[in-house]
C-alpha cells in the first residue's frame, strides 16, 4: 500500500485536494484495479505504428510501447494478472471511445497539438514527423515550388492539407488542391496520375511507398511544409495519476535505450506482414527527445542536440 500512498500524495499535490480524499485510487487506475483489465485502442493500418499483421493481430511501434506501459501499470498496482483488451479505433471513433471509457490508451499515430489538448491528454512523444510530399520520380518534382500549377492531393481533415493550403497562398503557387478521404485513396490518386503529388506526414508516405507495387517509382521530397510535429499516445484528460504513471513508464523506455531498440526494430528492419523495410534512420530531433522525453504539443520545442 506504500506506493498507493505515494501515488495518492502525488495526486493530492497536483489537484490540491484534501488528504482524506487522496487515499483511494481514482479515475482510470481505479478502474483498471477494479476490473483487472485495461483496454488499448489500435489502428488497423497505421504502419508501422499500429496495424494488423497477417494473423489479424495488432502490432507496431506504438503497440510495443503500450505493452511496456501495461507492464508498468501492472507493477504499480501490484496485480498478478492484468488482462489486455484490444479495441480497433478509427480517426473518427478514437475520441468518443476514449471519452466514454471504452479504451484507456490510444496507441497509434495521433498528432499531439495544442487544440487537441483541450479534449484529450498525450504522454511523451514517440515520433516526430514533418509534412512532405511524394511524387513519381518520372515527373521530377523535388521542391515545393515545383508543384506550381499542378494538382496536389492531401487527406481531408489533416493538418497537412492545412499546411498545403497555407503554402499555396503564401507562395502564390496556384496549386489545385484535392482533398481525399484517406491516405490509401490519396496515394491511389498519385498512382493513377489524378494528382501529381500527395502531401502527408513523411513517415506515412514512406510506408505507403514501401507497400506500393513499385517502390522505386516514387520519391519523397526533401522540402518540408512544416517543422517536425509530435505523435503521442492518447489518454483521457484530467486524470493526473494515470498520466503521471504513463509518462514515467514511457520516459523510462526512451531514456533507457529501449526506445532506440524499438525504433530500430520497426523503422530499420523488415516488418510483418510483407517484410517491408521502411529504412528511415532516426531523426536528430527524435533522438534528442528520447534523451529528454517531452509531451509538448509545440513543434518548436523539439530541437536536435
Amino acid at each position: 500500500m506504500k506506493t498507493l500512498h505515494i501515488l495518492g500524495l502525488a495526486l493530492a499535490t497536483v489537484l490540491g485536494v484534501s488528504q482524506a480524499g487522496a487515499e483511494e485510487l481514482t479515475g482510470t487506475l481505479k478502474n483498471i484495479k477494479d476490473t483487472g483489465a485495461i483496454t488499448i485502442g489500435f489502428r488497423d493500418s497505421s504502419i508501422p505504428f499500429s496495424y494488423l499483421d497477417d494473423h489479424q493481430q495488432p502490432v507496431g511501434f506504438a503497440m510495443d510501447i503500450c505493452g511496456k506501459i501495461v507492464d508498468a501499470i501492472k507493477n504499480e498496482l501490484k496485480l498478478d494478472k492484468l488482462e489486455v483488451k484490444l479495441n480497433p479505433v478509427t480517426s473518427s471513433t478514437r475520441i468518443p471511445l476514449l471519452a466514454n471509457g471504452t479504451i484507456d490508451l490510444e496507441c497509434g499515430s495521433t498528432t499531439n497539438n495544442a487544440e487537441r489538448q483541450k479534449q484529450v491528454a498525450f504522454t511523451n512523444t514517440h515520433f516526430l514527423t514533418a509534412s512532405r510530399f511524394v511524387a513519381k520520380k518520372a515527373n521530377n518534382l523535388s521542391a515545393i515550388d515545383d508543384l506550381k500549377g499542378k494538382s496536389v492531393v492531401s487527406t481531408a481533415g489533416t493538418t497537412n492539407i492545412k499546411q498545403l493550403t497555407e503554402a499555396n497562398a503564401a507562395r502564390n503557387l496556384g496549386i489545385n488542391i484535392i482533398p481525399a478521404k484517406d491516405h490509401a485513396e490519396a496515394f491511389l490518386m498519385v498512382e493513377t496520375d489524378r494528382a501529381a503529388a500527395f502531401v502527408m506526414d513523411d513517415i506515412l508516405l514512406a510506408s505507403l511507398v514501401a507497400g506500393s507495387k513499385d517502390p522505386s517509382a516514387y520519391a519523397i521530397s526533401k522540402d518540408a511544409f512544416s517543422k517536425p510535429e509530435p505523435y503521442g499516445i492518447m489518454l483521457r484528460k484530467d486524470d493526473p495519476a494515470f498520466k503521471k504513471l504513463v509518462d514515467a513508464a514511457t520516459a523510462k523506455i526512451y531514456t533507457s535505450g529501449e526506445g532506440l531498440k524499438l525504433y530500430d526494430k520497426w523503422f530499420m528492419q523488415k516488418i510483418p506482414p510483407k517484410g517491408l523495410n521502411l529504412n528511415t534512420p532516426i531523426a536528430p530531433e527524435l533522438k534528442a527527445e528520447f534523451a529528454k522525453p517531452s509531451d509538448s504539443p509545440d513543434p518548436d520545442s523539439y530541437k536536435a542536440m
Binding site: 466514454n100 481531408a156 489533416t158 485513396e185 493513377t192
Partner: protein
C-alpha cells in the same frame, strides 16, 4: 463520460484562420445541395426516359430498360462511384483518361452523375409503376383519338403518371440528398466531409456530427415542405391523385 463539451466551437476560427467552423459546415451544406440538385436532374432525365422505355411495346426497348435498371440498382452506390472515378479513366485510352482525370472539379461531376444514374434506376421503376397503374383504357382511348405514341405519352399518360408518383419521388429526392454523403469516398468534401474535417481538427466529435445531423434534417424538412406545396399546386380534381 469524460468529454469536454464545447458548443461555442462553431464560432471559433477553423485552423486556416480564415473562417469559423460554422462557415466550414455551411460551405459543406452548400456543396451537398449543389451535388444533390445536379444528381436529381440527372436522375429525373434518365429515369424518365428509361421508365418510358420499359412501358413501350417494343421488346428491345423494354429489354434495354430492364438491363439498365438492374445494372444500376443492384450495385452498391459506393462501388459505382469508385468505378466511375478510379476505374473508368484507366479503361479509356491514356490521353483521354489523363484529360478526364485532370478536369477541374472532377469529384463534383463524378458524384453528380454517379449518384444521378444510380437514382435514375429507382425513378425509372417508379415511373413504370405509375404508368402501369393507369387503366388500360386511357392508352386505348388516346390512340383511338388519333394521337401518335409520343402524343399519347406526352398528353395523356405522363401527366397523370407523374402526379401519381409525386409522393414516392419526394422520398427519392430525400434519398438523393442523403446519398451525396457517399461522395466523400471520391474526395468531395460536402457536409459529412466537413463534419469529419471539423472533428479531426478540433476533436469535438459530437458537436460536429450533431450540427451535421441538424443541417441534414433542416434541409430535408425544406424539401418535404416544398414537394407538398408542389403536389398541391399540380393536383387536378377528378384525377386519381386529385382531391
Amino acid at each position: 463520460m469524460n468529454y469536454h463539451w464545447n458548443w461555442h466551437i462553431f464560432f471559433e476560427p477553423d485552423p486556416t484562420g480564415a473562417t469559423t467552423y460554422l462557415d466550414l459546415l455551411l460551405r459543406g451544406l452548400l456543396l451537398t445541395i449543389e451535388t444533390a440538385l445536379f444528381a436529381w436532374i440527372v436522375a429525373l432525365v434518365f429515369g424518365s426516359i428509361v421508365g418510358v422505355m420499359r412501358t413501350l411495346p417494343s421488346r428491345s426497348a423494354s429489354w434495354f430498360g430492364f438491363a439498365y435498371v438492374e445494372f444500376f440498382r443492384n450495385m452498391p452506390l459506393l462501388v459505382q462511384l469508385f468505378l466511375w472515378f478510379f476505374v473508368l479513366p484507366e479503361l479509356l485510352p491514356r490521353s483521354a483518361g489523363l484529360w478526364l482525370k485532370q478536369l477541374p472539379n472532377a469529384p463534383f461531376y463524378t458524384a453528380g452523375i454517379g449518384i444521378g444514374l444510380y437514382m435514375s434506376a429507382r425513378v425509372a421503376e417508379q415511373l413504370r409503376a405509375g404508368i402501369g397503374s393507369l387503366p388500360r383504357g386511357q392508352r386505348m382511348a388516346a390512340t383511338a383519338l388519333g394521337l401518335t405514341r409520343a402524343q399519347v405519352y406526352r398528353y395523356v399518360l405522363l401527366p397523370m403518371a407523374f402526379r401519381i408518383i409525386l409522393p414516392p419521388l419526394t422520398s427519392e429526392f430525400l434519398n438523393t440528398i442523403k446519398n451525396t454523403a457517399v461522395a466523400i469516398t471520391i474526395g468531395l468534401i460536402e457536409l459529412t466531409g466537413e463534419a469529419r474535417s471539423m472533428q479531426e481538427f478540433s476533436f469535438q466529435v459530437f458537436e460536429a456530427f450533431a450540427a451535421a445531423t441538424v443541417l441534414y434534417l433542416l434541409l430535408n424538412v425544406v424539401v418535404v415542405t416544398a414537394m407538398r406545396l408542389l403536389e398541391r399546386s399540380v393536383a387536378i380534381p377528378g384525377y386519381i391523385s386529385g382531391k
